[in-house]
């Protein structure tokens, strides 16, 4: 046998070996089923600041199910389903009180709704890169949303650098309830296009930096049809910059994650988020740690502390507290316990918001700012 004909076997064996899953991209080799249930409870509205309506604010119970699995050698899929049951009252509007502060008009406690969502993702994996496509649907009795998305990932420099790109489009349809009774919009639609790019860079064997930029354009009915006076521009362009840093420490085999996000949009809302979490016992069965997050937002250009009925309907205005100047501090605790293929987790988070927490000052604190608690429980099984 000549050496020329014998170079073949090595090439053939290498090619066959490269088809083994460990060498092909990051295709999952395990099936993962996870379930998660959480309760989100907003604190009651302050009776002294409510002129009308129910004081008991939103409560949302969420159940989520997710399955991800490899298909054949080069593909993987994931399937997600979630259900939310919402109840409680939400602010309808804000009026000026005699002392110059704002008072809330709340809805009755009639809101009792549920939302169901499903999304499916299919991903093709190659060595060092993957391309996925996803479709999703989310529906409640007055709101239907359909979405499609594409996501691409590629490793560079011996997998020390990962580039991720994603684009999505969503088409939503609104059919507010009791539209004729309350002279609400009867039917509306909105379209959302998003693009996100991020680079993940391994800085050292124990630290990692992720930088991202995202842009989202919303067009259509962006006003809240359930508020008494809410007129928002029909186009909103949002941009986000993110920086996430993660580092492992020898002490208590722990890891620290620091995340920063800057958001600014064409409504002239600007927001900073700084979050830190600490996880102890990364190598042990029980992992736990605290988290702390600070959020500060400056108000939209058309934000009004009180609804202005003297303004014409073609002039934008909103008294939605989510468009006001405010800040928030969240803190919580999370824990995971792993037993072979099963992992159970629980998390608690407390969120306190207030206009005096904001970096910029505002004259009128919004009475609708919420405080809430979230408790969630989850389980995951790998097989």
């Amino acid at each position: 046998m000549t050496s020329k004909t014998q170079i073949g076997p090595l090439a053939l064996l290498s090619a066959a070996a490269l088809a083994l899953p460990a060498f092909s991209a990051s295709q999952p080799t395990e099936r993962v089923v996870s379930v998660n249930t959480s309760v989100y409870q907003e604190g009651d509205a302050n009776a002294a600041e409510v002129v009308f309506g129910d004081l008991q604010r939103f409560r949302v119970k969420t159940n989520q199910f997710n399955l991800s699995a490899p298909i054949g050698r080069d593909w993987s899929m994931s399937l997600g389903y979630d259900n939310e049951a919402m109840s409680g009252a939400s602010p309808w509007g804000t009026v000026a009180a005699s002392d110059g502060s704002g008072d809330l008009i709340m809805s009755g406690a009639s809101i009792d709704d549920s939302r169901n969502g499903v999304d499916v993702n299919l991903t093709r994996h190659w060595r060092g890169q993957s391309l996925g496509v996803s479709v999703g649907y989310s529906g409640e009795h007055d709101y239907h949303s359909r979405s499609v998305g594409l996501n691409y990932e590629r490793d560079f420099f011996k997998q020390n650098t990962t580039l991720a790109l994603s684009a999505s489009y969503a088409s939503d349809e609104l059919t507010p309830t009791d539209a004729q009774l309350f002279q609400r919009l009867e039917k509306g639609s909105k379209h959302t296009r998003s693009f996100y790019a991020s680079v993940n860079q391994l800085l050292s064997p124990v630290s990692m930096l992720n930088l991202g930029f995202g842009i989202t354009k919303r067009v259509g009915e962006l006003s809240d049809p359930y508020k008494l006076r809410d007129i928002r521009p029909g186009k909103r362009l949002e941009r986000t910059l993110t920086a996430n840093y993660r580092r492992y420490f020898d002490w208590q085999t722990s890891s620290l994650a620091v995340n920063y996000r800057y958001f600014w949009d064409s409504y002239s809302v600007g927001a900073h988020t700084l979050a830190m979490s600490w996880m102890l016992g990364e190598e042990t069965a029980l992992q736990w740690g605290p988290m702390l997050r600070y959020y500060s937002q400056s108000e939209a250009a058309f934000y009004n502390p009180f609804d202005r009925y003297d303004q014409p309907e073609n002039v934008a205005q909103s008294s939605d507290f989510r468009l006001s100047t405010f800040g928030a501090i969240s803190y919580g605790l999370k824990a995971r316990y792993r037993m072979n293929d099963v992992q159970v987790s629980m998390q608690y988070e407390r969120y306190d918001s207030g206009s005096d927490y904001a970096l910029s000052s505002t004259k009128t604190a919004h009475p609708g700012l919420v405080d809430f608690d979230v408790v969630s429980l989850g389980a995951e099984y790998r097989f």
Partner: protein, 314 residues
Amino acid sequence: MGSPCELKLSGDSALCRRVAADCQREAERFETRYSRFTTDSITAQINAAAGGAVVPIDAECRAILEYAGVCWSLSDGLFDITSGVLRRVWTKDRLQLPAPDELRPILALIDWQKVELSEAGVRLGMSGMEIDLGGVVKEYAADALAQRIGLAGIDSGVVNLGGDIFCVGTNPEGLPWRIGIKNPDGPGAIAQVGIASAGLATSGGYERYFEVGGKRVSHLLNPVTGMPVESLASVSVIADQSVVAGSIATIALLKGRADGLDWLRALACDFLAIDASGQCFTRPGQGLDGIAASGPDQKFTRLTDNRSIQDAFQ
């Protein structure tokens, strides 16, 4: 994995411990999934259904079987994962070599071509057939663990699963990892090899063997004759993947001394073969003992100080 396993990682100790724990879990997964000794492994399920129903398999098991098929065709049928049934004849308590009559019914059960791989799964064509994926999985596991180590951000480490080795990057000093090659005819290391970012597998009759009537015979059995292969004493191969190195080494042994050396010499990879008389052979153009080639291509260095395998491992 039925033999001593070792993991060396260099870097932040917290990360190393976390990755080591992850590697141990993954190694245990390979063990429980492919061991032929447990009843719930996929290997046991496929063997139990021999001659009967198709057993569904996942992408990993399918890729391993397909890889074994490539080895079978490249070795002209010598590398055959169905040859494990020969163990029924070659038991540890044997006092004499088996007679042809004893071997014939067993040899009838050895045929890779009767392993029916289909979309639905795999089926062994004859009742009594068995597959043993041990000759592929151990090496593949070394590669898979090395892959995990690299993905976790560790660029210096060694995975050693019973002699199937993958060296991740270089040693902490930035030099190739020095690995000792066991002397097939005695204790200690016979040679040392420098490896960076590559797999090394050693196959030989010295670590696992049958003793028949006091005579040590290789555990490597020819699937056609059913008899131990009188071959090279030890073959070590370096390749980009440990699994490829392992297959090349095993095929070399199964081919016998002369054909095995021809096979190794014709391949574009580094090897060290040692015959029964202790003579060493390396890739053409590469000398041993640092005389013929002392440059960076020099892979294997002969050791004459009879140092232990551990001392030869730096």
